[in-house]
Symmetry: C2
Subunit: 132 residues, 2 copies
Amino acid sequence: MSHPAPRTIPDFDKGQGMLPAIAQDAATGEVLMMAYMNPESYAETLATGRAVYFSRSRNKLWRKGEESGHVQLVRGVYVDCDADTILLKVEQLGGAACHEGYKSCFFRQVTPDGLQVVGERVFDPAQVYGKK
Amino acid sequence: MSHPAPRTIPDFDKGQGMLPAIAQDAATGEVLMMAYMNPESYAETLATGRAVYFSRSRNKLWRKGEESGHVQLVRGVYVDCDADTILLKVEQLGGAACHEGYKSCFFRQVTPDGLQVVGERVFDPAQVYGKK
């Protein structure tokens, strides 16, 4: 007899080992970014209280803020009904989640006239990350 | 000579034809759900002002609220810095985005004592969807 393995929550199997994770400003409710987590980054997030993602492009753990210092302190972790999406409520140190210097990565609105920048720019990326 | 095709925004090629879309309550900022969009559902969303997703499990367009009547009226569409995630600010008719009757699909919080239901239940799914 075989028994299916018990489902975990979040259920990383649903995302072939990786699930989307939304980071929302715990104070203002602003959606800051979306990235991916694997079980290791999720476990480290819970253990440290700092958002850790999995970078698909670099194929390794991405400790948010490791370069910029703009760490996300996790104030709450939520899972959706299907257990395949994670929501983090965070305190964003440095005031900006986006590597382009905006508070939120969703700084562009789609309008009938095209994309409009509506977000607030908090820092100059060249200052934070240095010239490359 | 070959020229790469120009990138579109959002860039559905980055998600192999499908991108995550976050729905956020336009009035309260609450994150309601996350689903996926393909170019067709995105275009229909813009054209109609109602959120249309692509159901990966049913492999077809998912006009949110088509069964329950709980349509999402789109108040704003945003794209992130990488142009691979969409954010919708919506007015959720019926008061609940989740098929389980909760205002938000993220109605469960991960705590040291396990999952805690923290969301507000607005309707009884059996009433809305009928017995199946």
